[in-house]
């Protein structure tokens, strides 16, 4: 047993911190959405090979261990650094490694590794949320291509994306898990339309995407036709991770602690009180536990194990910890906590109210907490199906 990272891992963390110190604007708070900065940083990450460090070398990776990926994600999240690529690097890549044809890998992976292609994930539909397999976007066989019709929803970054990983129904007669195919769709294809969804935090992350007779060449089918559900499920396993939430929680707590320790800023809310430190300590304990749980998931992957229950535990506990942290911060900040970043009196740039508003999405996206708890009880503890 050893809770330390190796020297190499610690060195990577230092390299990454140095990179962030050099590349991020001074006093970077991670506020707002600067897409150009995201792209520029991403390319720099790609130059260092960090963007896809966990990939095989032949596709632009470094065959880095899951622990290095963990450190990467932990520090990027803690520093609210732009530039990561959850879709291309963390989902498409690992999925194509398993299911993609050689040609697909050669065509699609290098642009991701270079930080040049933006992907998005076309899974959810208005009537297919937790029950993803009931999706109804149709892909009809037209010889050399599929003809796609229907709409997807909650598609993050679709408005920035070059390509989409699309789940579509290719056999409407088959049982619902059996007639789905996994297609790669050029977002510039005629008939693709993207409409923004603004969320309660006032930001544009989600989209609806409409398909009107969109032609998708058959070479863009990943895996076998009608067997796309199994491709999709594999991909979902790459999606759950608690380290982002653990690190983001820790960052909020550190920010608030510093705010309270500084008499001048603490005076804005009437001074630090003992109950505030007690509440903060409670959240620090949770953030630490969330961190350890996420470490364990990465550690299992390092040993070639597929964390399942553990990944769900990490996702549930990480996201719920983040919600509690945001809530606690608002209770400590008092009335001023509700002010948004554009109000001159907003403490910590309005970060806590923003985090709190965002936090509602985290226990829903990538599998609701209820679905995760079903997984923990069923696949994890072996309790019988309900």
């Amino acid at each position: 047993m050893d809770f330390r990272f190796s020297q190499d891992e610690e060195q990577f963390r230092q390299d990454l911190l140095a990179f962030l110190g050099a590349e991020l604007p001074p006093g970077w708070e991670g506020l707002g959405d600067d897409w150009n900065l995201t792209l520029a940083t991403r390319r720099k990450l790609a130059e260092r090979g960090w963007l896809t460090m966990h990939w095989p070398k032949e596709y632009g990776g470094q065959e880095a261990s899951p622990l290095l990926s963990l450190i990467f994600n932990e520090e990027m999240s803690y520093h609210r650094a732009p530039g990561r690529d959850p879709f291309g690097a963390r989902m498409l890549g690992p999925t194509l490694m398993i299911y993609g044809s050689e040609e697909q890998k050669r065509r699609f992976l290098p642009p991701v590794a270079r930080g040049e292609a933006q992907w998005c994930q076309g899974y959810s539909e208005p009537q297919a949320g937790s029950d993803l397999a009931s999706l109804s976007v149709r892909a009809q066989d037209r010889g050399d291509h599929f003809l796609v019709n229907g709409s997807k929803i909650w598609t993050s970054l679709a408005h920035r994306a070059d390509w989409m990983m699309l789940l579509a129904r290719t056999d409407p007669e088959a049982p619902k898990h059996r007639g789905i195919s996994f297609l790669l769709v050029d977002m510039r294809s005629p008939g693709v339309e993207t409409r923004p969804i603004i969320n309660m935090a006032g930001s544009h992350e989600f989209n609806e995407v409409f398909f009107d007779d969109v032609e998708v060449p058959k070479v863009n089918l990943v895996g076998e036709r009608d067997r796309g559900w199994y491709v999709a499920v594999t991909l979902l396993d790459f999606e759950r991770s608690g380290i982002d939430h653990a690190a983001a929680s820790r960052r909020l707590l550190d920010d608030l602690s510093a705010f309270l320790r500084d008499d001048e800023s603490a005076a804005l809310i009437g001074g630090a009180r003992r109950w505030m430190w007690d509440l903060l300590a409670e959240r620090y304990v949770e953030a630490e536990v969330a961190r350890l749980i996420a470490y364990r998931v990465a550690w299992m992957q390092t040993g070639g194990l597929a964390p399942n229950k553990e990944a769900s535990i990490s996702k549930v506990f990480g996201t719920e910890t983040f919600q509690r942290v945001a809530d606690t911060g608002l209770k400590i900040l008092g009335p001023l906590g509700q002010l948004t970043g554009d109000d001159p009196r907003a403490p910590l740039h309005g970060r806590f109210q923003e985090a709190w508003r965002h936090s509602f999405a985290n226990t829903i996206a990538a599998g609701t907490s209820e679905v995760q708890r079903n997984i923990i009880a069923g696949r994890g503890l072996g309790l019988p199906r309900g």
């Binding site: 959810s124 969804i197 603004i198 989600f206 009437g270 009335p335 508003r357 209820e370």
Partner: protein
């Protein structure tokens, strides 16, 4: 004992719900968020025409002669509809405070205009770094002959930028006991040196920062007595906390209703989502929270309405409802999934306001600390 609303109150409630369903759709709430006035004047005119601002104002001032409890029935409905209107500020913070403490000439002058919906009033209490108790009032009003000169800042003043009068809690004596030396001054919204600027907050609900730059108020502007405004302010804040709790109960009820409706319709895995036991238990927990919230809020309002001492009941209500309403909103989001998180959905309108309402007149922690102080000092709450 009678834990039901009176027939009159039930009619009032039904009427209010009907009016607001018609005249205050969620679209109006959404539009008003971007409006600098922070509320809908047409809606306010309709409320005024029905006599809502004067509901708890005695008849001799042109009001309907109802009670604070009657007024709370309306606030539950405006809370439910998230109605963008200055009813809370004018009728609770303004009219009831004046009724409590103002001189007869001041009442004669102002209450009829307030009751008619012609004058808007509000209350300025909390300050940078300060809390919701009379002893937290630090804003200086320097006596200069027959007038006070006010310099400083008040925060979170509801509808200040549209109010004709701001009842402003100021400190007029320094070395007095914590509740002494506080004076309430009636400051016209148009007073020279007074600048209200709407806060930019997550609820976009029209609360303002108000700067007093040498604002002058004559002695006749004192509401009650000089240096003796502390107890009046304390009572006003208790009423505000209780009324805010009732408003939140209305909002929480709307949230539960929309959630149950959605869960009956939304189908996943071949059955309504509301048939899943985990989701059912979320709703049961929301229902438990709502039931307790309403009773706690009503009890506080009723006791205050009766003129009884109700510090403990008001703190109990605001402590419980502040947290309960946020729990209800959180579970509602969990039940709604992604759709409830979108700006287009009505749920998040309630959620964002719940956070602002939580803080108004003290959050749960603040009121529990008040209760704890009483407990330690040997009063059982």
């Amino acid at each position: 004992m009678n834990l039901d609303l009176s027939e009159t109150q039930q009619m009032l409630k039904a009427g209010a719900r009907e009016l607001l369903a018609r005249e205050c759709p969620y679209d109006l709430v959404r539009e008003t968020e971007g409006d600098p006035a922070g509320f809908s004047r047409p809606l306010w005119r309709q409320m005024s025409a029905l006599g809502w601002p004067g509901l708890a104002v005695p008849e001799r001032y042109g009001g309907a002669g109802g009670s604070f409890m009657d007024l709370a029935v309306l606030l539950e409905e405006t809370g439910r509809a998230l109605a963008p209107a200055p009813l809370f500020s004018t009728a609770v913070l303004g009219a009831l405070t004046l009724l409590d403490a103002a001189s007869d000439p001041m009442k004669d002058d102002l209450l009829p205009r307030i009751a008619a919906g012609q004058a808007l009033a509000t209350l300025a209490v909390v300050e940078p770094g300060g809390g919701w108790e009379p002893q937290d009032v630090k804003l200086q009003a320097r006596r200069d002959g027959e007038r006070f000169v006010i310099n400083g800042v008040k925060l979170f003043v509801p509808n200040a930028h549209a109010s004709d009068f701001i009842i402003t809690a100021v400190r007029t004596a320094q070395d007095a006991g914590p509740e002494e030396g506080v004076t309430l001054l009636l400051v016209p919204g148009a007073a020279e040196g007074l600048t209200p600027v709407p806060h930019r907050n997550l609820a976009s609900d029209g609360q303002c920062e108000v700067t007093f730059d040498g604002v002058s108020a004559p002695l006749s502007a004192v509401v009650g007595r000089v240096d003796e405004g502390g107890p009046v302010l304390r009572r006003t804040l208790q009423r505000a906390a209780a009324a805010k709790a009732v408003e939140m109960v209305g909002s929480a009820e709307a949230v539960l209703d929309m959630t149950v409706d959605y869960l009956k319709q939304r189908v996943q895995f071949g059955r309504p989502v509301g048939a899943f036991q985990a989701v059912q238990h979320h709703c049961a927990n929301m229902s438990i929270d709502l039931e307790g919230s309403r009773l706690a809020a009503y009890q506080a309002v009723w006791k205050l309405s009766q003129g009884q001492e109700a510090a403990r009941e008001a703190s109990t209500a605001k402590a419980w409802v502040s947290d309960a309403c946020l729990r209800i909103c959180s579970l509602a989001h969990q039940c709604h999934g992604a759709v409830g998180f979108t700006q287009e959905h009505n749920l998040q309108l309630h959620t964002r306001r719940a956070r602002s309402q939580e803080q108004a007149y003290g959050d749960a922690g603040f009121h529990r600390r008040l209760l704890a102080r009483g407990l330690a000092a040997s009063q059982t709450p």
